[in-house]
Subunit: 407 residues, 2 copies
């Protein structure tokens, strides 16, 4: 049996078919390519019960992933992150059946590890030896680590204001790191120039077809962890949008396999009010998102003013009866703090934005008390120490803590 049932690549805009077994970037029409599988053959090769017997990482879905030879897999054991009930927070916002998929528990501390695992593995399989990419930090850290594990060179360009720890990660794992006094799109221009000149593989968001394949395993896992059924709603913090596109793609593939029924969860894209091009486009009913001017938010990972995948995100929202919603920085920082205190989960600001969105949508009646809602926390709070102020007493040895009770 083949390890992968990858059959070809298909343009997401013009549907042109492309060969999956040569290195590919965008379609000739400049739209992203999507991996397609021979799902009919896959159904006879694998079943949900077979998957249940495999080790708890994302490669358990290998028939539906693009890597053809198991020897090409570059892995740190990523995947099968916890799906945690948040009963106290759920109670406080009026959604008792609230669950959080905690992507902070992945290699490099964010969901970016999934895309790097599939992207780097497939690139290695195709003979790529050097990649380049723009990033808001976490993707660069992940791709740099996987590139090192693959024995591949990585050139990473990120905004100067990206989280410091992501810079340390890139340097530690041996990437060539450059900072730019600008935003991720400025980094993208620099990478595009370098790629054209140096012949490196362009690993920019959606400019290569396989990052999304790793991301889609979030969708597979949510469905498997719920016993091969879907929740009512999935809420996702959206920058480049690959995670949401991936989850939607996963759901459609599971439908085609006959592993889930026709009902799909409503998908929710969450952005920050300081950078909300997809929310604006959704509110206008558009399929195209105009670039956002003067983008700024503390949830740096979703500070993406111009996203190549915006039409695909919007399609997923429209097709599932979903919605796009923006939240303020103040709001998301407050929910980050609340979640840590109520549930002990110290999450990233992007994940906190998704929590704030749930509160808003429940308040507006878009979510009901009966909805089973899965919120994606895309990364560990560990990577954002600046979101916490530490102002605590310092004692000398032999001193006592303040007494709260009389002797």
């Amino acid at each position: 049996m083949p390890y992968s049932f990858l059959s070809h690549l298909e343009c997401s805009a013009c549907s042109t078919r492309h060969d999956a077994d040569v290195v590919q970037g965008l379609c000739t029409c400049d739209a992203p390519l999507l991996a397609r599988y021979d799902l009919e053959s896959a159904t006879s090769a694998v079943s949900t019960s077979k998957i249940a017997e495999r080790s708890p990482d994302l490669w358990r879905y290998h028939e539906l992933l693009p890597v053809r030879d198991p020897g090409s897999v570059v892995t740190f054991g990523e995947g099968m992150t916890p799906l945690l009930p948040l009963s106290r927070l759920g109670g406080s916002v009026g959604i008792p059946r609230l669950l959080m998929k905690d992507e902070g528990m992945l290699p490099t501390g964010t969901f970016k590890a999934r895309g790097a695992a599939s992207g780097i593995s497939r690139a290695k399989e195709m003979g790529v030896t050097a990649i380049a990419m723009p990033t808001n930090g976490n993707a660069g850290a992940a791709w740099s680590a996987y590139a090192a594990r693959a024995g591949m060179r990585a050139c990473i360009v990120m905004p100067e204001e990206a989280p410091d720890i992501t810079k340390s990660e890139c340097v530690a794992t041996g990437a060539d790191l450059y900072l730019v006094k600008g935003l991720i799109n400025d980094a993208g221009v620099i990478v595009a120039d370098a790629v054209a000149h140096e012949g490196w593989f362009d690993a920019s968001t959606l400019k290569e077809p396989y990052r999304i394949e790793g991301k889609k395993t979030m969708g597979f896992e949510i469905v498997e962890q719920l016993g091969w059924r879907v929740p009512d709603v999935i809420v996702y913090p959206t920058g480049g949008g690959v995670g949401l596109i991936g989850i939607y793609k996963a759901l459609l593939e599971l439908q085609a396999l006959g592993w889930i029924s026709e009902r799909l969860p409503r998908l929710v894209a969450v952005q920050a009010t300081g950078c909300a091009p997809i929310v604006r486009a959704f509110e206008l009913g558009d399929r195209v998102a105009e670039p956002w001017q003067g983008a700024s938010t503390v949830a740096f990972g979703i500070n993406v003013p111009r996203a190549l995948g915006a039409p695909l995100v919007l399609d997923a929202l429209y097709a599932t009866g979903g919605i796009a919603v923006a939240v303020d920085d103040e709001e998301l920082l407050s929910d980050q703090q609340l979640l840590a205190r109520l549930e002990g989960c110290f999450i990233c600001p992007e994940g906190a934005a998704a929590v704030s969105a749930i509160r808003r949508l429940r308040g507006a009646g878009w979510l009901s008390a009966n909805d089973e809602v899965v919120v994606l926390n895309t990364g560990a709070g560990l990577k954002y120490p600046d979101t916490v102020t530490v102002d605590v007493p310092t004692l000398r040895p032999g001193e006592r803590l303040p007494r709260t009770q009389e002797a």
Copy 2:
């Protein structure tokens, strides 16, 4: 069938039997208590194949854990961390069969989550509502998070020089945090006084019997991940030593269950030359480790000058034909860097100390090229950003990367 086969507590020094179903601290003889199980009944209730069907967290071993009611379990989905082949590093140090158990992929980013999961769950089950503990940072961060999830109050005292992120974690998850201008033993004195006065539960290392039960699941997982067999050697960075004691306890329990054969892996305790009380005791052939004066190492988690569990660590080393070895800060920082570049694994300095120990032991002939060696990385490098120097170019938008090739 009972969820847990916990039968009683037994003193590790005088073997006195204690009731496991009331709150317990040390034995009356001041030695730590160990949880004992009805292993004979457990063998008829659970098997390795039953365990294989369970979800990938440490609660899959619940018959051999101390929590009696599944409703008492306080969890973030911890456990089943990856066991990664390190073939490039293994090749470079002359140990082709080198594996790393990566505990950085746990909630709060370190192996401390295991002990907090079992310790807090059992404390909750016993009606505890407030805990206090001294810590070098990571244990405090973990116990603070689990306490929040349990709805319990936590009072944490740590050295001023503990990793900054661990302070942020404690504050974020709502603990009462105090710093001390001293070492962990100074923090311990402050906690002991507070506990005596306030009636809080003392969660200090080995002063309560259940932290070790969570830690022992590292041993269960290594054995399960190798197909229910043991490696030749397990190498562990040792501060308080609970992880090593726990792994040894796990191995003895698996033997008693008949799930592994009589051969045990040789256990290796790794310390820093700046704080090596257990290494000194081992070299003297002692069972007691004298406190280390002027303790100092960049591997802050193992900067423990006086460890209550030292006799138990030393017993485990002697019983398995193991060894204790100390490495320099310079050496471990260099190996931390090497591992990140060769394998993409950005690990903590304590884990790096264990890597350096392997290099030393191979050089000395104590390890051979045929040995299958498992090294424990106890935490994510993410928590130690100061171990990396970031000195990279900053560009303005529109600038180019330096050309490496002529047009």
